[in-house]
Symmetry: C2
Subunit: 331 residues, 2 copies
């Protein structure tokens, strides 16, 4: 978190979203630490490896800001749902690292690499279950939204699997994958935050739209950083999408532009490190990164438009700043 | 199910538990079929491979009988929670087949073998999420019990992993694994059934104890069948516990008796088929199967004692017959 704060200092210090919800985020941290306690130390260790591994907590932050922005009062409620959303996110990361065979995550060995497939799979299930414990106490509406978001995550993962190393993937396919796999959880956090604060239905919808667009912008930046990012700030090597055959935005745009070497690296069952490095260089010098940045700004702008009519407050300012923070980030 | 009915004919036809809840079980089937619908056909296919693959539906049946035995009226409620419990069970089977590298399940290729690790992992997550959708609409008590049962499943899996191919495993370790991994879901189904029917707290506890003991008896029989079962009735080869290094009851008892060849097959990282066949033969001719059957009868008896004071009804008779059915089964 301190890393993001460091980044924030270069923005307008007067509307630092972290400061607005720091007390509530601390309660989320306490919840998370309690949630992963198990009589099986191995489960606590594996879950803790990732939970305490430097996550940005962006999803809880969106949830909290949306709630407080509409004058929500029952803090413990929103803290519980923000906890559930971060637990779901962490569960999917554990399972994603299995799916991708990822060796590193957040600057250290992935749980998959460190503890092996089986314990990591079970720990992911454990976190899903703990999320259910936190989210299941809410009314049917919240339960349904949360379950829908989770189902979308698996449907996004499935669609992404279908386009793994598959050059037929289009920009529309990409956006559909991202809506499901990344943006749905941002969207649900924002939606539930507004709903639990008692916002009008039209406002709830606008806030959900904010979350959706913010989530897409977030993923586009992730994809860009996988090409041009700094390995130390990222906490993992660049080029992972090419290595794993995941259809990222720069790859899709480069394929469309017919940039040489990218198709070969993307479609090869096991691209060599030389192939990957060459493809990354090709992507870097072409127009693709700029095109991707433009797209992320469009979605960021959509997010800002969605919350334009929300009641003014410093939480609203926080939501706005968060958009900027997310598209300017370098990790 | 027809398989179990066939078996039932040899028992007292007047208290066939399937007949008592056949309408409700049909509603569970409809729920399950609806639950696995996804816009990603692959998820529906993988989930359906197992959901429609001939499960015995014992857990839903316990849940329904306990509910109806206490005069429960809101059928759609209990059908929903019975659905959730079967979905959780199926999700764990999908993930278990990954953990065990299982090739067959219920007489056909396992989902893991047929669809591969990644799609099967995601489909398991999908089923967990659908279970949450069904269970999350209940009050906090039901949500907490269900979440606790699920957490126990992962904790049982973890403990079992610790004792994989580990000859230090004791009978107490075994019972702890079984309580968590198998019996907790039976226990929770029975408990929730009684609770939702409005039973007195003392009766709820007794019904839960019935489920716990029934679940332990069920697993002991499963372990016995892995040694002496008929491959066609079982739908999978025998000797799987030795092959996978899972500490089953016959293995633990044979280790305790110092029966030759069992320790070698159990502790070997990759026992040969000859080793497994020899160890199975040794287990079969020794006293172990009889000892295990005695233990299953003890737990079956405990289950019957737990429901002795329940209000008489044909559902109560159904719960009693189910105990007999479970310990007499040959698949």
């Amino acid at each position: 978190m301190s890393e993001i704060k460091r980044k924030m200092a270069s923005l307008d210090g007067a509307c630092d979203p972290f400061d607005y919800v720091s007390k509530e985020l601390e309660l989320v941290e306490q919840n998370l630490a309690r949630a992963i306690l198990s009589r099986e130390q191995a489960l606590t260790d594996i879950a803790g490896h990732l939970i305490h591994g430097g996550g940005k907590r962006v999803r809880p932050m969106v949830t909290l800001l949306a709630f407080l922005g509409f004058g929500g009062k029952r803090i413990s409620e929103i803290v519980d749902i923000a906890t559930a959303i971060e637990l779901i996110h962490t569960a999917t990361l554990l399972h994603d690292d299995i799916l991708d065979g990822a060796e590193t995550r957040r600057g250290k060995e992935s749980a998959y690499k460190r503890y092996g497939l089986k314990p990591t799979l079970v720990a992911g299930d454990f976190l899903f279950i703990k999320a259910f414990e936190f989210a299941g106490k809410f009314d049917e509406t919240v339960v349904q939204w949360t379950a829908d978001a989770c189902a979308q995550l698996t449907e996004g993962e499935t669609l992404q699997g279908y386009f793994n190393r598959n050059p037929a993937v289009t920009l529309d396919d990409y956006l559909e994958i991202v809506r499901r796999k990344t943006a749905s959880l941002f969207q649900t956090g924002a939606r539930v935050g507004a709903y639990l604060a008692g916002a009008q239905p039209a406002f709830i919808d606008e806030t959900a739209r904010y979350g959706l667009n913010l989530g897409i912008a977030f993923q586009v930046i992730d994809d860009i950083l996988d090409v041009i990012g700094n390995i130390e700030l990222l906490g993992k090597p660049t080029g992972m999408d090419l290595r794993d055959g995941n259809p990222s935005l720069p790859i899709i745009l480069a394929l469309k532009n017919g940039q040489s070497g990218v198709r070969e690296a993307f479609t090869s069952p096991q691209p060599s490190e030389d192939q990957i490095a060459a493809a990354l260089d090709v992507i870097k010098v072409g127009p693709v990164i700029q095109q991707a940045k433009t797209l992320s700004k469009q979605y960021a702008n959509e997010a800002l438009i969605s919350i334009k009519k929300l009641p003014p407050s410093h939480y609203l300012n926080g939501l706005k700043t968060l958009v900027q923070l997310i598209i300017d980030r370098d990790f």
